[in-house]
Symmetry: C2
């Protein structure tokens, strides 16, 4: 059992607005030989996710803020390289929150590590995407939070992203009409490939009025469900075209994560009353009880070809900040990942 | 059976912004002798309600718009003065949607008339307030839409109004901490008399920052439930102090009903995600199934002195527009009514 050198990415400064390369640093440390109860893991994949932007602010939230000068954390999968823990063997596939670094040594519970099944037929990286947190987010959000019903007309913003692309497909599997939105023709083509009935290229639409017109054209009778990954104009347009009793699952508002000033909200919230809208924010961890049903359904959907997934991969831990920053300029189709 | 002369109030022009006296006209007609299946009713009370402002716009909504030149409609109670209908006798107490006029002759179903029980011990006017539509609105909104639980900290805007004053008392009956808001010291004293733990005088608070500071002081640990009658700054402040998993019942937004331009929404909707807020608009008619439980509970609460109600009364149909306009300047304590 030998120590492994591990490069990690630190938060050098809290981003103001759009995160910059200069907000990140690197730190080389050692993942030492495991003491009793510890395992040593070499990460093979790490995840960058929009929610991490929130942790870069120094404020109370549902997860504590990242600390300046410390190595960031996030989802990762890797293989056990040394073990001093009775439940883990060398070679075991492990998922943890010890991402943003190449390797680590710790008690599994200290980094929320769990052993993954080795026989799923899924690539290891899938546990950071379609079969992991983003997949469960989509599943819980559209089925439970938005109370999806067969026949619903569903609007999904960020439809080419890790969560959105899963939402599109789940809604199609459940017999719904699905309208996605994404930035650019290539992403819209991808969203259509996933089965969406329509995809709005919000960049081509130009502004709010353009987005609204495109949404009205795609959903002339209005929408029953909105799954929000984007916020801003998308949220307002969704309220505008919502049918009475429409349900909205608010998963994220990536268009607003880098705001430096409070942004005026949708100018049509008064419609919440007359249309009897239900708007619900949610965080995936609240719906951890759905994990078994999610894995059962998702495995079957993937095996039967009903659920496709795409990954956008950058290589090397030193490119993790670029991968993260790419989320905000929409550089990813499907799940954004870093291969270590 | 003789005809009765009836003065009614017409909509002369659609108000732009705050309604003006010049937007209303009068029309004298006759409530004739009832034909087969008809009843003739002399209204003794009529209701003015904030929702009526919405019907003065020429737009699709959950109720059709009022038509220019026609007599307005709304809740009223009165006594049968002549009958040609087997289920109605002279002297029966009748509630209908044939308000804004002194008398009417029609088939009961054409004006949504129902016979009221004569033995409730309640004044007739109560069926337009605490024991009528506003009371059911409060009951359904706080219990079902907001999913009130014992021990919740509840914030109620418009707490001195017909709906808000009932919400305050229901929440106290259910074992909650209740913070109201109302305009002016006198109304706040009334809200405290109803049992509210705190009442914020939003006029004294001055602006949004003042309102927020007062709300933070009244609910230092945040709120679990918000019942919105007001919208605007109140809605934004409620989101700001909401605890995780807080529920909001959006009943009305009276501060926005006279807007002539779309108004920017709350600048903190991003908190819907992290706090997992549930925001639900509702209309009382959707919850008509709660009517029996509502009447049973409300009768008992009133009889036992747990539920108080106040009325602000103007006299004469010609003062109905003034009563209606008074809703927007907050001239009412409890239910605003017109005695005919």
């Amino acid at each position: 059992m030998t120590a492994i050198s591990s490069t990690g990415i630190t938060l050098k400064s809290r981003p103001v607005g759009e995160p910059q390369a200069s907000d990140f640093g690197t730190e080389v440390s050692e993942a030492g030989a495991p003491a009793a109860g510890q395992i040593q893991v070499k990460n093979s994949w790490m995840s960058v996710d929009p929610y991490m932007r929130g942790r870069m602010y120094d404020r109370e939230s549902y997860v504590p803020p990242f600390q300046i000068g410390e190595v960031l954390t996030g989802g990762a999968v890797g293989r056990v390289t040394a073990t001093n823990h009775p439940d883990y063997a060398v070679g075991d596939l492990v998922q943890s929150m010890a991402g943003w670094r190449e390797a680590w040594t710790a008690p599994p519970e200290a980094v929320m590590a769990v052993k993954l099944p080795g026989n799923t037929g899924l690539p290891d990286s899938a546990f950071l995407g379609i079969a992991g947190m983003p997949g469960l987010t989509a599943y819980a959000g559209i089925l439970r939070v938005a109370e999806l019903k067969e026949g619903d007309t569903v609007f999904v913003s960020g439809a080419a992203g890790a969560v959105g692309s899963a939402v599109v497909q789940i809604a199609k599997i459940k017999g719904c009409t699905v309208i996605g939105s994404a930035g650019g023709a290539e992403k819209c083509a991808f969203v259509k490939e996933l089965g969406a009935d329509e995809c709005i290229d919000y960049r081509a639409a130009g502004d709010y009025e353009g987005l609204l017109a495109a949404l009205r054209a795609a959903a002339p009778k209005g929408i029953d469900v909105y799954f929000d990954n984007v916020g801003g104009d998308h949220f307002q347009a969704a309220i505008e075209v919502a049918r009475p009793m429409a349900r909205m699952a608010i998963c994220g508002m990536i268009s607003q994560y880098n705001d430096t000033e409070p942004r005026p909200g949708p100018n049509n919230v008064i419609q919440i009353v007359g249309k009897q809208l239900q708007i619900r924010g949610f965080i995936v961890s609240t719906h951890a009880d759905m994990q078994p049903a999610f894995l059962a359904d998702m495995s079957q959907w993937i095996a039967s070809g009903k659920m496709k997934f795409e990954e956008t991969v950058m290589e090397g831990v030193e490119n993790a900040p670029a991968a993260f920053m790419g989320l905000f300029s929409g550089q990813n189709k499907g799940k954004m990942l870093v291969k270590l």
